[in-house]
């Protein structure tokens, strides 16, 4: 090899790097998504254009839910990636059907003071749900202390966390990154891993896109400000259809967003129904807490426990109308004992706002499980 050839290679390489820089960041790494062996580092996917994973790359769409799963009050930053040209299929009832190659990206974080959630947010982990040809897989990536990289941790992990909560209380907890089986403990429908959040009713809301750039046929398309989230997805080409009238659930904690009963049901739907449905891990309990379930007996109204053991708290019914203080549902939501509490996974603290919501709902309930408002 002579010196000229080496020099030529060097020049070509520099030119290549320069041209790549001119085109903006490299696109999302679809080979990493498809890889049988998932990358050790989150950055390998190139979902974000910055080291701290705040700026989504092209094709990575941020989204939000009306009523999210409560995880000790952690902040959650959600994004969806779909391969260019691929679309999710709209469904008015269940989670959308996402195309192979889809990744649902969720980062869990706590701000030093949760009353100022935008300041000093520390990322704990970023969980990926990747749609493969043969189903979804769940991969947790744990952030380092320096907040520069997240590493795959399929066996789970514990992260000591301290923060000031919304009431100004100092909280310290040992954040539990779920292992692969625990991921499935919630994301399980008839034995297969499945997403929980992104259904039409839960995505049907406004989202502030700020100044958000997508690309269409090589052209920049800029989306500004607040948009109807489902319509925006259709606009971006990642949803096949966004009907003018889609179902929606209220925001559980926001009294202005819906009636007491609908907010309570929305909360139970997202926080409980992933297990308590006829195909879910807790189907043997006979409780069905899905939004679509209209029979109060299946929500637990005057339903006796089956296998609750000491978690019954000595009470006879899951929900005894008018008596939240004697209702097992509330008793288990109020507990932090692993043998009693519900949900079984994903929290160590008690969601006080939810306790107030469910307490009011049961207190105002008539014998048929209905609330007159």
């Amino acid at each position: 090899m002579n010196i000229w050839r080496v020099l030529l290679c060097l020049v070509a390489f520099v030119a290549l790097v320069a041209s790549a820089a001119a085109l903006g960041p490299a696109p999302v790494n679809q080979a990493a998504i498809a890889s049988e062996r998932p990358p050790e580092l989150l950055s390998a996917y190139r979902f974000f254009s910055d080291v701290g994973a705040r700026e989504p790359n092209t094709g990575v769409t941020p989204y939000d839910l009306n009523t999210p799963l409560w995880s000790d009050g952690a902040l959650k930053f959600r994004y969806v990636f779909m391969p260019p040209g691929a679309q999710a299929r709209y469904n008015s009832e269940t989670v959308f059907e996402f195309p192979v190659g889809t990744v649902l990206i969720k980062t869990f974080a706590f701000a030093a003071d949760m009353r100022q959630p935008t300041e000093n947010a520390r990322f704990l982990e970023t969980r990926l749900l990747i749609r493969r040809a043969d189903g979804w897989i769940a991969l947790p990536y744990v952030w380092n202390e320096a907040q520069t990289e997240a590493r795959l941790s399929p066996a789970g992990a514990g992260i000591p966390v301290s923060f000031t909560d919304n009431e100004g209380q100092n909280i310290a907890l040992d954040w539990a990154v779920p292992n692969r089986n625990q991921c499935k403990g919630c994301h399980d429908r008839a034995g297969e891993i499945t997403p929980i959040g992104p259904s039409a009713r839960n995505l049907n809301r406004q989202y502030d896109y700020g100044r958000f750039i997508t690309y269409e046929d090589g052209h920049e398309v800029v989306t500004h400000g607040e948009q109807d989230q489902l319509a925006a997805w259709a606009e971006f080409g990642i949803l096949d259809n966004a009907p003018q009238f889609s179902p929606f659930v209220p925001s559980a904690y926001d009294a202005h967003s819906g009636s007491l009963a609908t907010r309570a049901r929305a909360y139970l739907d997202v926080n409980c129904a992933h297990c308590h449905n006829p195909d879910g891990p807790a189907h043997t309990s006979g409780l069905d807490l899905r939004w679509s379930q209209s029979d109060p007996a299946l929500w637990g109204v005057m339903k006796r426990p089956v296998a609750a053991g000491r978690a019954s708290g000595g009470y006879d019914f899951s929900i005894e109308p008018g008596h939240p203080e004697r209702s097992i549902v509330l008793h288990r939501m109020s507990s932090d004992d692993p043998g009693v509490m519900m949900p079984e996974l994903g929290r160590q603290l008690v969601d006080q706002r939810a306790i107030a919501l469910i307490r009011d709902w049961i207190a105002g309930m008539d014998a048929n499980g209905r609330v007159r408002e």
């Binding site: 539990a176 043997t284 006796r304 000491r310 000595g314 692993p338």
Partner: protein
């Protein structure tokens, strides 16, 4: 060509060997992480070996890979201790098919000890589930707990201290429970909302109730049927009921040998049942109100034959204690007498066949029988019109032997 085939066969054989791996886990620092990692990364066919010693665990363990064996050095030697458990609703959760659990113990889980759900094929052999402080309402509900499984084999195992049932098989099909010891639980062995079970050669002693066969309303699988309970030793089940209120077993009177509630086709034969202070065999309807139109609260086609009864009725407890005060003499076999029930206001009548024959009692003769004569399921016992005459000797076909190849 022959050489090629031979070479191929050798390769396949090696691949087969390479695939079935053994994971060896020793107690000590890092054991918890190593064990859970093995249970995640195991491949079908692998064995996870637990060395001798005590494994201190802070989180519930889980297994979701088919055909994995977890095997220790013995129920008294390899111990998974959950005394300091901080997370997880059970000690060990299994959600895959064809798993074998052998020769280890789960102690002091915060919730259930070993739960296995939604599976085809599960074997417990030489496993012990125990709450070591003895009966206590703060103990977990179930010791060995398969639910919604087909082909359940539980043998040579031990369950102690459960605040509900030591061995509990719920909403399952094709079940063998044999050669186990269940003691100091509320219910020793409980078969609930299940089809085709053989429960034999077990020892159920010092529980509140020895062996229970239940069917409950409002569950995905109900209409329990075809249960054979035979050749068991069911004695001295007089532990005061320590189940937390609200649970169905909290209503089991202390001193109950066998309790059959609802179900169709339960055959209890060739057992030794004695020294149970309330009653040796109790046959009763489900007594609570229910809304489930598909549910039948009556026990039907019940055969009690060829058992040896020991002493009973010497310390009636629970709701039945009041009957004793009314002067009712307690028999070996007590039936509430229900043949009617109503669901959502519609009355239904059943031909209920209860047969008792060829038993022997240490108190003399064939043992005693009493119907309380409460014709409507769940009616108050104050309406009892006791009748000690034996029910007619009808033939009731016995369920077939359960066979399992796990």
């Amino acid at each position: 060509m022959k050489i090629l085939i031979a070479a191929l066969a050798a390769t396949l054989c090696m691949v087969g060997q390479a695939e079935a791996r053994t994971w060896r886990i020793r107690p000590g620092a890092g054991a918890e992480q190593a064990l859970q990692t093995a249970l995640i990364e195991a491949r079908p066919g692998d064995t996870v070996r637990l060395a001798r010693g005590r494994f201190e665990l802070s989180s519930g363990l889980s297994l979701d890979i088919d055909r994995v064996t977890i095997r220790g050095e013995g129920e008294d030697r390899s111990i998974l201790s959950f005394t300091n458990q901080r997370r997880g609703a059970e000690g060990l959760l299994v959600t895959s098919d064809g798993v074998v659990l052998r020769d280890f113990a789960v102690e002091n889980a915060r919730g259930d000890a070993i739960k296995v759900r939604d599976c085809n094929g599960i074997t417990f052999r030489g496993v012990r589930a125990e709450w070591t402080r003895g009966p206590n309402p703060e103990n977990g509900a179930y010791g060995l707990y398969p639910v919604n499984c087909t082909n359940v084999l539980i043998r040579d195992s031990i369950a102690r201290g459960a605040s509900d049932a030591g061995i509990y098989v719920g909403q399952s099909r094709n079940i063998i429970v044999r050669d186990n010891v269940a003691e100091l639980n509320v219910a020793g062995i409980e078969i609930e909302n299940s089809y085709n079970a053989d429960v034999f050669n077990n020892t159920a002693t010092r529980n509140t109730g020895g062996i229970l066969v239940f069917d409950l309303p409002g569950l995905p699988q109900q209409g329990g049927h075809s249960i054979r309970v035979f050749e068991n030793a069911i004695s001295n089940n007089n532990t005061p009921n320590f189940a937390p209120a609200g649970n169905i077993v909290a209503s089991v009177p202390a001193g109950t040998g066998v309790l059959i509630m609802a179900n169709r086709g339960v055959h209890v034969f060739k057992n030794d049942i004695g020294d149970n202070g309330t009653v040796n065999v109790l046959i009763t309807a489900y007594r609570n109100e229910f809304q489930d139109a598909n549910y039948n609260p009556l026990p039907r086609d019940i055969m009690i034959r060829d058992n040896r009864f020991g002493n009973t009725g010497f310390a009636p407890a629970g709701e039945l204690a009041a009957l004793a005060q009314m002067g009712v003499a307690f028999p070996d076999v007590l039936w509430d007498g229900a043949t009617l029930f109503s669901v959502r206001g519609t009355p239904r009548n059943e031909s209920v066949r209860i047969v008792m024959r060829d038993n022997r009692s240490s108190r003399g003769g064939q043992g005693s029988f009493l119907s309380l004569g409460v014709p409507v399921a769940g009616a108050p016992l104050s309406e009892a019109a006791p009748d000690p005459s034996f029910p007619p000797l009808l033939a009731i076909a016995e369920p077939e032997e359960v066979r399992i190849r796990n």
